[in-house]
């Protein structure tokens, strides 16, 4: 056998990564995503483009504009997604969505890396510090409140579809500036299903999985969650039809997509927020389940975009944002256990990406200027014409 320095190489790799600053690692991740996308999806570097934003800002356009935000509660790492070894898991995002997108390779979340609190931060534009495992409202005004108040939109124009019971308060803050009833309506498909089945059958247990970080715990529900009677009034679905469909889907996120499509058809909200959660099965430590969830999420994102193209209210005037709430721990960080958790706060767990596509967005462009996850809300404000005055982020360069 030939003498080799394999272990020396790994030791050097581990040491180099351990010795690099979080900023250097984050930049490295960002550059890798960029280079991979340029090769695999044929996108070009954003900084090479000249000229003003293609986003249309006229009042008429704004009134018709629809925005859909999709977050992954349970981030996926590059090596399982936007890296050469991960591309087999995301054929739809890579081949169908990325070429149509402005892709931001360097999104940092500097807040608490728990799914509810991180999603709340995404929705408020402020790093929230609420208890991740409590059913409490965000401390700062949400994007839904800014949108509805500033643009005088009715309650039917902003909706959230969220995966876990703990998210039932995400639609509206307890900020005094806005007051009750100014937020978004929240649908928790699991809660809906649970109510619809009335405990009669166990056929749907696989769709009622909740918080994978603490699988034994479900917060008590309270606040303005979607009532069963609204199933028929809003979604125009009978309990039987809903149950029949639920029987045919295989995961909570598939059920969420079904609800989103019904909402698009029946209510056509201008601001629609979907949080998916299947990927967070990674907390169980079973790598195969984590990979399966990534593949499913990839498929569902494409399915949602196709649905937007086929709905008359959405076709041609919809902008879709897709982003994980944060990443997951790196393999080489001794404080974590790789893909399983997001507890270290290392660069891999804090750094992720965002994809924007559709109306007014440049296609096939990749940007690696750093942005923060709290920049989403002010960007939505600039796009839709409302003013998120308490948000601490800034509008994303490249979009504007």
């Amino acid at each position: 056998m030939n003498q080799t320095s394999v272990n020396r190489a790994l030791t050097a790799e581990l040491s180099a990564k351990a010795g690099a600053s979080p900023q250097e690692i984050a930049w490295g991740l960002s550059r890798s995503r960029r280079e991979f996308l340029r090769g695999a999806a044929g996108v070009v570097l954003g900084s090479t483009l000249m000229g003003g934003s293609p986003l249309l800002r006229g009042e008429t356009v704004r009134k018709k504009r629809k925005v859909i935000v999709v977050t992954f509660g349970g981030g996926a790492r590059d090596q399982e997604t936007f890296a050469p070894e991960g591309q087999e898991n995301i054929p739809h995002m890579l081949q169908e969505l990325a070429p149509q997108s402005s892709f931001f390779t360097h999104v940092t979340n500097r807040g608490i890396l728990g799914h509810y609190v991180a999603t709340a931060s995404l929705a408020t534009g402020v790093y929230e510090t609420l208890n991740n495992f409590s059913a409490v409202p965000p401390q700062h005004p949400t994007v839904f409140e800014y949108f509805r108040k500033d643009l005088k939109r009715p309650i039917s124009d902003a909706w959230v579809v969220a995966p876990s019971n703990g998210f039932n308060r995400i639609g509206e803050s307890d900020s005094r500036q806005f007051g009750p009833g100014m937020g978004a309506q929240v649908i928790l498909p699991k809660h809906l299903l649970s109510a619809a089945r009335s405990g009669a059958t166990a056929d749907f247990d696989h769709l009622l999985r909740d918080n994978y970080e603490t699988p034994y715990y479900t917060p008590q529900l309270g606040g303005g969650e979607f009532e069963l009677r609204q199933l028929e009034q809003i979604l125009k679905l009978s309990v039987n039809d809903f149950m029949a469909h639920a029987r045919a889907v295989s995961s909570p996120d598939e059920l969420s997509i079904y609800i989103v499509k019904r909402l698009m058809k029946q209510e056509a909200p201008s601001l629609l927020w979907l949080t998916m959660h299947d990927i967070d099965i990674a907390h169980s430590g079973a790598y195969s389940l984590y990979i399966e969830a990534i593949q499913r999420t990839d498929r569902l994102c494409a399915e949602l975009w196709q649905a937007a193209q086929s709905e008359p209210e959405y076709a041609g005037n919809t902008t879709l944002f897709v982003l994980p709430d944060f990443g997951r721990d790196a393999d080489y960080d001794s404080g974590g256990n790789g893909f399983q958790h997001h507890r270290t706060g290392d660069a891999a767990s804090r750094t992720t990406w965002m994809m924007a596509l559709g109306a007014g967005v440049r296609q096939g462009v990749v940007y690696d200027e750093p942005m923060q996850s709290i920049d989403l809300v002010p960007s939505l404000g600039a796009l839709m014409g409302f003013s998120p005055s308490l948000s601490q982020g800034t509008p994303i360069r490249g979009l504007f």
């Binding site: 970080e213 699988p215 079973a286």
Partner: protein, 372 residues
Amino acid sequence: MQPRNLQPEQFAGYPPDARKLITAHLEAVRELANLSSLSKAQIKEWFEGFAQISLPAAFDKLDWINQPAGFIEQESAYLWTTHQQDAFRKAATEYGVRLRAAAPPDAVPVRRLGIAIIGQGVASYDAPLFRNLRAHGTYFDRINPEDGLEQLLAAAAERAKAHPVPYGHWYVEGGQPVEHSPLLTCVSYKALEPVRAELLKKIQAEIKRPGMGPEELRTDLAKLTPADLGMDHSGDAVLDTFQVRLFTEGSGTQIFSTTFALWTAREALRRAQALTLLVRFAPRQRQRPMNELLSNSHPNPELDPLSSLVDADMGASYHWINQQRLPGSEQSAFLVWFEGHSQALVIAPYFAAGKQSSASVGLGDLLSYVAG
């Protein structure tokens, strides 16, 4: 309680062996706490990062001696909430680097050896295996698998005999353990079935209590002792405590045998710095609703060998990564084998990285090259 004021009687609540250890080395603990050997300037330099962290005065009153897990939980939550987690992490990492430089670890008595056996129960698998590891080692595609398990266990036992070190040589079994040398420290998912069942019963009871939340549950789990989970007192107290921690601190170890094997390997390396660690993954139960998995209501659940192979393949990567964090990594060796099949991969000195070999060789012979 400040570290400089520690007294032996404060550790009365510790398990006997832990109490013996801490009281025997209390002076060293105090010395470490006071860092008397460092100059003032050095102390300032070493601890500047920690000094920047602010904690509320109420934390001084917490009983971190008897409830260390609870203390860490609260401190961690506070650091995250006040956005000090990254600063703490940086300070801790820098401190670790300094400490290792100031007191380098002792040389290991024998080349460290990791063995991962994956794919039990899988008749055929077409997708490439060991993908994360191939760049670091030599891939063999014509291994003679006959008596492979026995040969690997025999080699582990031989090392245990030649280099007797307490908790130095391990056999981690994701299913039912096969015959093995008593010189190996054995941890088995199947053998711990009663402990696991008792734990899941306790979890079910706890979550039904009013006011119970995830953090409270975790705190309660951290307090569980071997006796609480029905382990008798005739066993190895240290090993029993280790095994209880696998279930109370691990995530997913309670429901998936592959996660159990992965986590046990990590902990055996981290806590015991195993010199020999043979991990055999077994098929885990098929995924079902989480509540159903936690209720442990199926005595003979359906198994999922193919998905378990994917889990184990990744688990083998983590086994090697964790091994490489330990002293002597330059010389350490690792072998992963697709059980019952002719595919294996070796990472060791004298084995080329990123290469493939079609040499027809038995696992015992291969291991004799690997282990050195």
